[in-house]
Symmetry: none
Subunit: 414 residues, 2 copies
């Protein structure tokens, strides 16, 4: 079975607001074995809404409408869906009375327009809204000769979630064949998307029953694997098998096979090795420290560090000799190494990281262009330096650099 | 004229990823007087994609497709849009050569699948991609007898934005009737959303021709104002008038009336006063330094700072007396002040900022609960400390704290 989610509201077609409910619903639907095949966002126009409803009914088994159930003139979902289904709408006096009581319990008088929220599509089951006035509706029936499930939900997230969980999950489960679904996420760093795909495609193509999605972010690739089978064990075994083959192919470029972030992985390794880390950052300006400390409990392995934007501070906080900077320039292999060694010593850490580079957009030269970054990692067994030329803007270059630095720490401790 | 935005990618139909590009495009289209009437999200299915393309072409004047232009087998946008338009696709050897050069310049060899990115729909103008390999495409022509503009854009946000700005805005402007739209954004900090709305509503309600949208984020409120008139001057004058009244009402809580971020504003003030800044961060872990240095050119006024997670480093990098920490605890008014004073002196800055607090989720006590943060600002005229109790999770608490600290710097220099 598949589903389409239709989000309704003109505010969702402005630059300021975005539908986020659909992520929640997708997670829940996936748990039931239902795939979302389309999402549509439509404004408060009866014509557009009716058209979207007809279309969704023609292409999906389950259609969920979110929003447009309120009391104002803009709230047109009930009428438009009824028109698409060629069904009547009638006003349910019990619902109107319940809304009136809800207002009265707060000491308010219900204004007349609220009665509209008692309109029910013929044949619909009314779904009580625990957190608001507008109830949801559930219709199951035929459309163009095929069985459909149609659900109307209120737009506010806390109303939608509670109503969906309490009123829809069991109803859907009862309508669906039992499902056994297993998922895994493999995260990869140190290679590009096409390079990664070229290497793993021969694997995932053999597993035609496993759905593979490749997501590339800045300096990181995620492989999302998902399958269904006759039992949960069988499904799990099947995705585990793909993960195993992918890990064998990509080796230590895989940094996580259970969804953990690079920040978390670096933290695990540091704790496992009883090691501590200190960092001296120039071009990344604190981003590395910020990412590492975004993990709760990072104080157990992260000592701290220095943001050494000025040359004086490179000397003052990480003991980089001034003549070394004068000789090689602040952006150099030598200064990166000195930063890593200096901060390690100063903070008495197991490991020290030094980053220096040109984040841009200004400050580049033919010899040292924007994107050039030196990453150094110092330990008791010496210092290694990796030089990279990152593409992109200031934000991306800084992000890539922190990704590279964390990957060096990970590989060191592996 | 109206537009539909079609976002392509199976990952956008999972619980993990969400289209955000459409917010950017909507803002740009609105500036040209184009309203977005539908957004569709569709997976990497040729059939679904072709269907969505045909539908969008039938109901909108401008159709923008985002994503699915990459080198993998999942990337089907070119083929599917061509089918919907009943046009051929041919491979452009010049584009393929350019992609090859792009790879070579990084010392890589282009893998064969990348050649696919040279496929061009018949009659399309190829839009060079300044930040990636896949070019965009622009097609203007008739569909079912009506003039349409069709744009294909790459999915990665930094590619899409640069390409749309450089290649599409002028082309669209040339196709559209002249529009006179003026917009302003007023940014406010130091008050809550309902408090702000209560004070500005009497103003914006008088300007019925100006559309006002209030957005509340973490530690910041934005008022978006927008109007159209018979001339650009008239439109501009009208929004300027609202902004003037709002600024008079909210006073120094307004930190920007032209869209600048708090990071930028702090930078302007520091440069204007010929002042420099150094920071010592505990619970924010580098986020303050990172935000300040996210602004290009920040090396002119930002000296650097220290991330002092451990107590030893509070002493080592910011000369906080160990007995002061022992007496008051690391999270205290006294230690915040000492951090600000110590880092200012060490870095020889005009101003020094110290932040210490409990970002959570663990580490809170009845006396010092999660969310408690002390912010200190030291100058040659002494040190001020602000104590706050922020709501929310680790990420929000850290963000609020940096917002508060930057606002202290701003007010100091105003």
């Amino acid at each position: 079975m598949n589903a389409e989610i239709v989000a309704i509201g003109s505010e969702l077609l402005t630059p300021f607001r975005q539908d986020t409910n659909s992520l929640y619903l997708t997670e829940k639907l996936n748990q039931l074995g239902v795939e979302v095949i389309f999402k549509t966002i439509v404004g408060d126009s009866r014509e557009h809404l009716r058209g979207s409803a007809s279309l969704a009914l023609s292409r999906a088994d389950i259609v969920i409408f979110m929003g447009g159930l309120g009391p104002t003139e803009d709230d047109l979902t009930r009428e438009a869906v009824a028109e698409a289904l060629q069904l009547e709408v009638h006003r349910d006096p019990e619902i109107v009375a319940a809304i009136e009581r809800r207002f009265a319990s707060r000491g308010w008088k219900m204004s007349a327009n609220n009665a509209k929220q008692g309109d029910v599509i013929a044949g619909a089951i009314v779904l009580p809204n625990p957190n608001g006035t507008a109830p949801g509706q559930w219709i199951s029936g035929k459309y163009e000769g095929r069985e459909k499930i149609i659900i109307l939900l209120p737009g506010p997230p806390h109303e939608l979630r509670a109503l969906f969980d309490q009123q829809c999950m069991d109803r859907l489960r009862a309508k669906l064949p039992p499902q056994f679904i297993a998922t895994r996420v493999v995260k990869v760093t140190g290679m590009g998307e096409s390079q990664c795909d070229a290497r793993v495609a021969p694997i995932y193509k053999r597993f035609t029953d496993v759905q593979t999605t490749i997501l590339a972010g800045a300096g990181e690739i995620q492989l999302h694997l998902r399958t269904r089978a006759d039992s949960l064990d069988a499904a799990q075994q099947r995705v585990d098998q793909v993960v195993e083959e992918i890990e064998a192919e990509l080796g230590d470029c895989v940094f996580s096979d259970n969804g953990d972030s690079l920040e978390q992985i670096v933290g695990y390794y540091l704790q496992m090795r009883n090691a501590t880390l200190a960092v001296a950052e120039s071009c990344t300006g604190g981003l590395l420290a910020e990412r590492i400390t975004s993990v709760s409990g990072s104080s157990r392995y992260f000592l701290g560090g220095a943001v050494v934007y000025s040359n004086q501070l490179k000397t003052g906080f990480a003991d980089v000799p001034a003549d070394l900077i004068a000789k090689h320039g602040a952006v150099s292999r030598e200064v990166a190494a000195a930063l890593a060694e200096g901060i390690r010593k100063r903070c008495q850490g197991t490991l020290g990281v030094g980053i220096t580079g040109v984040a841009g957009p200004t400050g580049g030269t033919p010899e040292k262009p924007v994107g050039l970054v030196f990453h150094a990692l110092a330990s008791d067994r010496g210092t290694e330096v990796i030089e990279r030329n990152f593409p992109g803007d200031r934000k991306r270059i800084r992000w890539f650099a922190t990704q590279q630095a964390m990957d060096m720490v990970r590989r060191k401790l592996m």
